[in-house]
């Protein structure tokens, strides 16, 4: 019985979220708005616990598949649950729940009207459902569908504020993302043409036998994937939409997009590269080198751009570009440490960036100041919020005891395992630059003397609880990362097709 429940749980998570999403407007019509919000939070919490349960099962019993509708692969859609899925499900749950909690406090005020708020909830849950779908799916076309759902949902979330800048940013995001989707779809088409399959495990089998017959076609196909997912996950220099979109959205949207939406595409990319095409083929093609290179460039360039920003949310948005560089660097390294680092960074960046955006949102909202140079004295007005921001900053810089260090350490080891000393330099330099663009915020907030007395701001306890939850996650992952780290290295092992690490 337990097994059956486990088997169904994977699809249940996605379906439950999807259906809840559409109930939301209805729920807000007939009950108090708060109820809908708490219902959403509860659903996300359930998703989180489902994810944890699944991850535990995967760790205990190994990977398993679920044929949707009882149609076995290759005809039906197959959900394949491995450590990657488990890891990403947990990440989604851990990050989305507090974001939703945070958003629930003053959502109507933020987005303008009650009905818009209801639709926001729908979109939010849709986005989460799509991301969960990306995590569990084992089918290429399913990936495409989930990617599209996620894209449309996140575009709409950006536009939630309904002012010119955000609509414009949304349009730009939508256009570029659609081009990206086009490339992804093209890539899927190529793979289908090459192998006649859409199930990733079958594709992998086909390709391992026949890829040397048409390496160029495979290369073009992978290039399509890289560009397509690169646009969506803001890989430098394809990140151009991101700063506008992430900085104009409301705080929970920014947090959601920067921390999770991007990671969903990265997971998809990982699945395509390492599951569908396979680690053996990928590492023989120069694509990993290119990914490493782009990752390094992204780390430095993103940080430099971030350094030049005065608007807090824009700075954080550019910081995302830099941090995505870390993740791609890890993917490019293609060894166990590098991929473990990638997974750890997916988690740590998700929690950290969510924390930063939420805290920044609270700071901006309660003081009315969006520029860093105006933020003098904010720290005294809202110590807990800015304190949480400080924890996020330290984690982002990669100070030990915070989750950021764990991932960067793995990436460092991965780089050294490949003998890539330049990457070591870039990783360390990226940390320094992160310090350079994040610490001034703290300096302004805590230590600079304000010109006039700042507004005394009372952040609601629910929002503080959301922030503190993330803080606790960051610190506990930083201090006792053993369990998560094991899961991450399982995931990396699964992708690389190696034996499980001792």
């Amino acid at each position: 019985m337990a097994l059956a429940f486990r088997d169904n749980l994977a699809v249940l998570v996605v379906v439950a979220l999807l259906s809840t999403a559409y109930i939301m407007p209805l729920l807000t019509k007939i009950r108090r708005f708060r109820v809908a919000e708490y219902f959403a939070v509860a659903m996300l919490g359930l998703a989180l616990s489902g994810g944890i349960y699944l991850a535990r099962e995967i760790l205990l019993h190994g990977t398993f598949t679920y044929a949707v509708g009882g149609w076995p692969a290759p005809w039906g859609i197959e959900l394949s649950l491995d450590a990657v899925s488990g890891f990403f499900l947990i990440t989604i749950g851990v990050v989305a729940t507090p974001i939703m909690l945070y958003a629930s406090v003053d959502l109507i005020k933020e987005v303008g009207s009650r009905s818009r708020a209801a639709w926001f909830l729908t979109l939010f849950l849709l986005l989460v459902a799509a991301l969960c779908g990306l995590a569990v799916t084992g089918d290429l076309f399913n990936i495409y569908v989930m990617v599209e759902v996620a894209t449309i949902a996140s575009c709409a979330i950006v536009a939630a504020r309904n002012d010119a800048t955000s609509v414009e940013a949304t349009f730009k995001y939508l256009m570029l993302a659609t081009i990206g989707s086009g490339f992804v779809l093209l890539g899927i088409g190529f793979l289908f043409v090459l192998t006649g399959n859409l199930n990733m495990n079958f594709i992998a089998q086909e390709l391992s036998m026949s890829w040397q017959k048409y390496p160029t076609a495979l290369w073009v196909c992978l290039s399509f994937f890289m560009v397509g997912f690169g646009v969506k996950s803001a890989l430098f220099p394809l990140h151009v939409w991101l700063p506008d979109a992430h900085s104009t959205a409301i705080a929970p949207s920014s947090a959601m997009l920067s921390s999770l939406a991007i990671k969903g595409y990265i997971i998809a990319l990982l699945k395509v590269f390492y599951v569908a095409v396979g680690a053996k083929i990928i590492t023989r093609l120069p694509i990993t080198d290119i990914l490493t290179l782009l990752g390094m460039v992204a780390i430095i360039a993103g940080a430099l751009f971030a350094l030049a920003q005065d608007e807090l949310k824009r700075r954080l948005a550019f910081s995302t570009i830099s941090q995505v560089g870390y993740i791609f660097l890890g993917i490019g390294l293609g060894n166990i440490h590098g991929l473990t680092g990638t997974f750890m960074h997916i988690l740590s960046h998700a929690t950290t960036k969510a924390l930063l955006f939420l805290a920044a949102g609270a700071m901006i909202k309660h003081t009315g100041k969006s520029r860093i140079s105006e933020m003098a004295g904010v720290g005294a007005a809202m110590p807990v919020t800015v304190g949480a921001f400080a924890v996020g900053s330290l984690s982002m810089i990669g100070i030990p005891l915070f989750s950021g260090f764990v991932s960067k350490w793995q990436l460092l080891l991965g780089s050294l395992a490949n003998g890539n000393y330049l990457a070591v330099l870039v990783l360390v330099g990226g940390s320094l630059l992160a310090a350079a663009y994040l610490l001034p915020v703290l300096r302004m907030a805590f230590f600079e003397r304000p010109l006039q007395k700042p507004v005394v701001a009372n952040v609601s306890y629910v929002q503080l609880a959301a922030l503190l939850f993330l803080v606790v996650v960051i610190i506990s992952v930083g201090v006792v990362p053993d369990g998560v780290l094991q899961l991450a290295s399982e995931a990396a092992t699964a992708l690389l097709g190696l034996e499980v690490l001792p």
């Binding site: 100070i399 005891l401 764990v406 350490w409 080891l413 310090a435 300096r443 006792v480």
Partner: protein, 489 residues
Amino acid sequence: MSVGVALVLASIVITTIGAIWVAAIPGEAKTQRHCIVVGAALVSAAMVWYLLYLGLGSGTYPAFRVGIASLSLDLTLDPLGLTYGILASTLWVFASIYSVGYMEHDTKQRQYFTFFLVSAGITLGIAFSGNLFTFYLFYELLTFATYPLVVHSGTKDALEAGRKYIRYSLVGASFILAAIVMLWTLTGGVLDFSSIPAALATASSGQLRILFFLFLIGFGVKAAIMPLHGWLPSAMVAPTPVSALLHAVAVVNAGVFGVLRTVYSVFGVDLVKSLSVRPILLVLCSVTIILGSLIALKQDVLKRRLAYSTISQLAYILLGAFILHPLALAGAMLHMIFHSTLKIVLFFAAGIVAEETGYLKVSELGGTGRILPVTMGSFGIISLGMIGMLPLSGFWSKYYLMRGSLAADAWILLVVLLLSGLLNALYFIPITVSAFTGTSDLKPRRKTKALLFMLVPTVIIAAFGVIFGLYPGLTLPLVDAVVAQFFSL
């Protein structure tokens, strides 16, 4: 967990708890906060002293271990760490008493005392860290915990200085991180101090040299070796107890301690000798000693002069460490102890003068000795100790350094040490003399409670300067243990 284990952990935790408690107390309850700060420092120091009583005979033993990302957080107790721990925690008690007086009229006391206590715990963490990763962790945290103390006044200068401090420190720390990663690959994941030297034996000397200089540059920032010293004089905008404690004892000595760890625990004497980098290091230290003193001569702001003096004196310790001779190491350890106890008095005295008269520059100090005789008297006597005159403690460390350099056939160092003593005299003596001979229109003021809080620790530590001068043997058991730890005699 044995008693020792519990104590090591508790001495760190207690300050942290104290800090949280202090942070939780509302702004008005001054007395309560002061009691907690002094109490926490005192209890923590007492624990460390009890560790000395317990642990020295039984040598090194691991105390506490938690894994982090295939690294482990490892606290151990060894003579070198214990020396540093005792030094820091004891002086912390005095500095916190002094702070109570010094910060009397400050409006941001809560912030100050919170970070003051946090830094205490972190410093002990550095002292008791059992592997390089733990060391790096506390080392990095120390930067962040002390940054708020540096920029405490919130003035433009302070923020600029803080910026400089954090830049230097983070760059230094990243060098250390790179070094640790490199070490990791060279040793295959061994970071424990006790087992690194053996694991490093297979590495080529070229790699080892790179590794050594990575460490040296990293720790050299906090130890203020000459081209890397820029942050220290600017950081003097901090409140005086901070300057005294952090920039004469905790932070700079953390750097020095790092170098000692690098030379003796990571590489080991034999390996460093075989790298034949000693001449470069000795020249570097000598240059720092002389140049630091020469620059100090020119400084008019008292605390800046003291800062450059610190730079020069820290190089003594490093010099002793780099000579790679038991006597010189003993000298280095003695100088670490004595310099800290002496320099903190000088800073305290400078702080009292600044608080009571508002004078910050040497050229203004004329006549201050008349209204603050005890303060300036302590300053004068202790500055003689910095010069290395008997019967003050500073002599003994220099004496051991001289013996060490002679024993290692490094003649020229003797000249450097003697010359630097003279330069010390040149920049310290005029301060005291002008304080007692100069004229000023200052009126003696009534002794306030705040002054008393500042004066008592100053005088007590100054008395230790004399007591250690007369009975240098008091410190010998510790120093001997350190020497025995690294040299098989």
